[in-house]
């Protein structure tokens, strides 16, 4: 497994490199630059700015400097827009926020989703099943950009229970609505996948055998049914994990959390090349890492898989 992991990590290096190069050139293709402004800068000022950020160098040189700075100094360069910040600072301030929301949403979606799914499968065709399935479908049909406004109107405007956005050092009141908005639709999907997977497993021969030999119900489910049930869920959880981290763009913007999603979108709009590239790389690395973890998790859940 160690050799496998090492191979995968090494194999991801070209992927990330390709991502950097492609993003770097795509960025340059977009019209306008970081210093395009409504009041055109005098040529001398523009030249000063470009010299300061190395934009007067040929593209290949800019790319080379960028890559060597990352590799040797772990330096993603200065922000073009926020003069007193560099990309590392911006990521350091936004990532913990995004991670907090992401992880909490992931936990909420998984625990609630899996529990609902299992409950529905165990009480198949009962009112519990129907309620869980309806909840699952409703939740799935509510993407975060619908949930956001509904939550703010309900809990902020009408009830006045929760603040309508912000971070404020991560106080719990500020976390509730973004986490609900972010996790609801994934929770719905997870519940439905878990339910159908569980139903399938419960109908399989080895469960019948386990029951036939007189094992108590709880033990059958806990020891024999749960692991295989979760296998398809795991393969869905990998992408979900990346989505809740990166897909928090909307939540960050809508709830003004100060998370990374906000910097990502705004850097694209203001052509803050270094921030845009830095966050893209971060998201890329996260995706690769989570995919690796998912693959490794398979081995634990399914004894047939060996690396």
């Amino acid at each position: 497994m160690f050799a496998y992991s090492l191979r995968r990590i090494l194999g991801s290096v070209p992927t990330i490199l390709l991502l950097i190069i492609a993003s770097f050139f795509l960025m340059q293709v977009a019209p306008g630059g970081p210093f395009t402004s409504e009041r055109p800068l005098p040529p001398a000022v523009l030249a000063n700015l470009e010299a300061r950020y190395g934009l007067d160098q040929p593209l290949w040189k800019q790319l080379w400097d960028y890559l060597t700075n990352i590799v040797f100094h772990f330096d993603f360069g200065p922000s073009f827009k926020f003069k007193d910040r560099d990309v590392n600072d911006i990521i350091a301030s936004g990532l913990p926020i995004s991670l907090t929301y992401g992880l909490l949403s992931f936990l909420a979606a998984t625990t609630v989703g899996v529990s609902l799914g299992i409950a529905a499968a165990l009480k198949h065709n009962s009112w519990i099943d129907y309620t869980a399935v309806s909840l699952g479908i409703a939740a799935q049909a509510l993407p975060n950009f619908i949930m956001g406004p509904i939550l703010i109107l309900t809990f902020t405007l009408y009830l006045g229970w929760l603040p309508g956005g912000g971070w404020n050092g991560g106080q719990w009141q500020y976390l509730i609505m973004p986490v609900i908005a972010l996790s609801t639709s994934y929770m719905g999907s997870i519940a439905r996948i878990t339910r159908s997977s569980m139903l399938e497993v419960l109908n399989s021969n080895y469960i019948r055998t386990a029951r036939a030999k007189g094992l108590p119900d709880g033990l059958v489910i806990w020891r024999h049914a749960l692991k295989p049930t979760l296998l398809p869920v795991i393969s869905y959880l990998g992408p979900v994990f990346v989505y809740v981290l990166t897909g928090s763009v909307f939540v960050d913007l809508y709830f003004s959390t100060g998370g990374l999603g906000q910097s990502y979108v705004n850097s694209a709009l203001s052509r803050d090349y270094s921030v845009l590239l830095g966050v893209t790389i971060l998201y890329g690395v996260l995706t690769v890492a989570v995919n690796l973890l998912t693959d490794l998790a398979y081995a634990w859940f399914d004894p047939k898989i060996r690396y």
């Binding site: 630059g33 009041r39 007193d84 006045g160 603040p163 309508g164 003004s256 906000q262 709009l269």
Partner: protein
């Protein structure tokens, strides 16, 4: 520019009265009970670019900088000039040398005295190519001696025409007479900065843990893209008269969310989304406010060879301008107290009344008839329909206006238009390279004087994207710089614009806010909206 000078003097006189310790507590009228919690919280659209006075380039950043730092002169609620760090100034007869006298009790937040050298340092820094300030152009238009040469790298920053005669006397030498120079010192680029802090911390000197400032507030917290907090500066010379203890700006990108959060009581101030003012002012008559701003909104014709041939004909341009029913746009589309525009310069500008063209007073039906006639004269009609494209940057309000205009032209004149909606940076690039036929434009005055607008339509202006070029306009504007009665010259320029119609003025902006009724003394009469938290207060409810 005698008028402007008088304004300065009257402003100064008024300020001496204000500065005298007549009122116990700032600007609070008698009978007002102050709230216990003096925190002012407001919404900003985007994260500010910087709080470095010489670097900041956006409105929300400048608002914070005006609280953190204090320049030579400041503005009062009416936009008049009042003393800041300087107690006053003298200008030489030819308006090329200004001497400012600084107050001796001004202190930085670390207790250091504010001296003339802090201004010299800051101004040299603003023009130094090593600083690469995006607002270096502002230094150029102040006409300070050698500013342009230093920015271009042809002279040393130390040759800038500013020197400290002693700790409390600052002398500024201009390369051209500028009657409104003192007014320009209210802008953040000309604020002082602390050399010792910048030398110690470099670009990171503006972080809350490092920053030292000389204004009424100090920066205490800054969470990127979320909030920034400033609190009373105990070292500020006029701290006794500061009432607001704490100012919080929250970044909220979505204006509707901001409105909801305002209604839930989280904010003291937010912008009203386009079209919602009538409803809000009915429901919250005390809180929905609208007042004129020093900004215009217009469409510019591409007058270069790349533009349509039809636009070379002033009759076509005039016909299109006449057929736009501004009343519909102002009252039905925007509905926030904006005013119909027939001149390029907003009517709210100081010391100058833009002359309305003759057609402005006619009814819309009469204007439409004139438009039809002019267009027919130019050879366009059902047989030879006029068609062109118009571009604007992404925004609900811009889109609504563009759709309304194109419908008006289609119905009244049979003109076909193709609308192009572009993301901001793409829009700037396309408009700047004359890749358009008709493009949206807007401008907010850099200072309260008509030239900040009219200069845009001169041949050398960098913002003249339609490339309108008229020798008379250029001459008049050059002459106005040193003329005693610039107003007459500006009036002539406006008349030429009305005749040539290189742009279609649509409306003049209004500040449309939801403002909590417990916020006292918001400067609604300051058309530049240069507000200072130290002049505000919260009233007990």
């Amino acid at each position: 520019m005698k008028n402007v000078r008088t304004a300065f003097i009257s402003g100064l006189l008024a300020s001496t009265v204000l500065a005298a310790p007549v009122f116990a507590m700032g600007n609070v009228p008698e009978g007002v009970t102050l709230a216990d919690d003096q925190t002012f919280t407001y919404r900003v659209l985007d994260e500010h670019s910087s709080v470095d006075p010489q670097i900041v380039e956006d409105v929300s950043g400048a608002e914070i900088v005006r609280d953190l730092f204090e320049g030579l002169m400041s503005q009062d609620e009416m936009g008049n000039l009042v003393p800041g760090v300087a107690t006053g100034f003298e200008a030489s007869d030819d308006k090329t040398v200004y001497t400012f006298t600084l107050r001796d009790d001004a202190r930085w937040s670390d207790g250091t005295r504010v001296t003339a050298n802090d201004f010299v340092f800051a101004w040299q820094r603003a023009v130094d190519p090593a600083t690469a300030s995006p607002y270096a152009w502002y230094m150029e238009i102040t006409s300070i001696e050698n500013a342009a040469e230093i920015i271009a790298g042809e002279a040393e920053p130390s040759t800038l025409g500013v020197r400290a005669i002693d700790d409390l006397t600052l002398e500024v030498t201009l390369s051209a007479p500028l009657p409104y120079f003192a007014q320009m010192t209210t802008h953040s680029t000309l604020f002082p900065s602390p050399s010792w802090v910048i030398e110690e911390h470099g670009a990171e000197w503006t972080r809350p843990e490092n920053i030292v400032s000389n204004g009424a507030y100090v920066l205490t917290e800054h969470n990127l893209a979320e909030r920034s907090v400033r609190e009373r500066n105990k070292m500020y010379w006029d701290n006794d008269n500061t009432i607001i203890e704490k100012v919080v700006s929250l970044v909220i990108n979505d204006e509707n969310v901001a409105l909801t959060r305002y209604l839930a009581g989280e904010l003291d101030r937010t912008e009203v989304p386009a079209g919602q003012f009538p409803r809000l002012s009915e429901e919250y008559p005390e809180e929905a406010i609208s007042f004129p701003r020093l900004c215009n909104y217009y469409y510019t014709f591409n007058l270069t060879e790349d533009g349509p041939e039809a636009f070379q004909d002033a009759r076509v341009r005039k016909a299109l301008a006449l057929a736009v029913d501004r009343k519909v746009i102002v009252e039905n589309v925007l509905a926030g107290g904006q005013t119909e525009a027939y001149t390029f310069t907003p009517v709210s500008v100081a010391e100058f009344e833009p002359p309305l063209p003759e057609f402005a007073a006619k009814t819309q039906a009469e204007k439409d008839a004139m438009a039809k006639e002019l267009l027919a004269e130019a050879g366009y009609g059902p047989d030879n329909p006029l068609s062109f494209n118009m571009i604007y940057n992404t925004s609900e309000a811009h889109k609504k206006i563009a759709v309304a205009m194109s419908q008006m032209w289609k119905q009244k004149l049979g003109v076909e238009t193709e609308l192009g909606n572009m993301e901001w940076k793409v829009f700037l690039e396309e408009r700047g390279n004359q890749n358009f036929e008709l493009a949206r434009g807007a401008w907010c005055g850099d200072y309260n004087e008509a030239s900040t607008f009219l200069d845009l339509l001169t041949t050398p202006s960098g913002y003249n994207d339609g490339k309108f070029s008229n020798a008379m306009v250029d001459d008049l504007m050059t002459e106005a710089r040193t003329a005693d009665d610039a107003g007459t010259l500006y009036a002539k320029v406006e008349e030429i614009i009305a005749e040539e119609m290189p742009i279609i003025p649509i409306y003049h902006y209004a500040g449309v806010y939801m403002m909590d009724s417990d916020v006292g003394n918001w400067p609604v009469n300051n058309v530049e909206q240069n507000w200072y938290s130290k002049n505000l207060y919260k009233i007990a409810e």
